[in-house]
Subunit: 197 residues, 2 copies
Amino acid sequence: MSKLLGELIEALRCLPGVGAKSAQRMAFHLLERERERGLKLAGALDQAMRQIGNCTRCRNFSETPVCTLCASTTRDRHTLCVVETPTELAAIEQATGYRGQYFVLLGRLSPLDGLGPQELGLGLLAERLGEGEIEELILATNPTVEGEATAHYLAQLARAAGIRPTRLSHGVPLGGELEFVDRGTLAHAFGSRQALE
Amino acid sequence: MSKLLGELIEALRCLPGVGAKSAQRMAFHLLERERERGLKLAGALDQAMRQIGNCTRCRNFSETPVCTLCASTTRDRHTLCVVETPTELAAIEQATGYRGQYFVLLGRLSPLDGLGPQELGLGLLAERLGEGEIEELILATNPTVEGEATAHYLAQLARAAGIRPTRLSHGVPLGGELEFVDRGTLAHAFGSRQALE
């Protein structure tokens, strides 16, 4: 096989969910039918990898010092939603009608991995909470052990600044079947059942 | 969302089997965890799209005028296997122990799409057959209507040059169940049943 082709196939495997077979299929597809778009992808990748940094205000991905969300004048400045990564920010933006601001931790508290308050930019967050505009801090870290611990820590930070912390509700996902919900979730949902009006 | 990020997600959709959701997942994955490999992929893509052309002898992908398969001194020069695309060449190389040479049509006879003998490089193939080295022409075009017609045409070309044409056998795939084999294949396999010794 041609050296460059072999290198392309190997390089494509950095994409999540792409193994040797898919990588080969992708390489042949681009070479046989989509050279123009392949070149465009090369350019977009190069630019994105080099130029996308983090917003100095919310730490979300941004190629400008302040991202469009933070710079927007139409977003509500009284609620701040804390997420672990830009992926979760995108998920919330796409699924909900939330119109407030965000803060991205770029991780979760995990002392064993060397991730402490400093690495998560909690100084920046505390500054933000101290500005006096924010009334509610939505804690949207993941429902994992570390995510919960991070939420707990952030809730204390919020209370100290006189801000109301809230957390996404836990329970049975909509549209699922109880039979297939994991035990922990089911036990939690059962224990925190709510009165119907 | 950042402009460059949006462009990267859009560009990733040129990959086969990658929709909006996977493209977003890939972009975030690269940005959050694999910037180095992302940059490497950009370079490999750019080089491959620009520099990979076709071998002047067999028309397979190659960045050199003659590909490594054609230049090899250890491959059998008496058999030539004709395939439609480089993808199929790779599949045969990887699945079989074939040690002969190849010729890639880069298509199949399809007059309605403007693909005639000239577009498929049949002049080059005829020259090759005329060199006198080849004894068997293996017709490995796809088992579709157009692939069969192409094989038929090539078989005549081979016979005219005094070369034995052969075709991949058709029938029930190994390891499958008859119940799930399509009717056409089953009818063919039944009609061309072979005597057991």
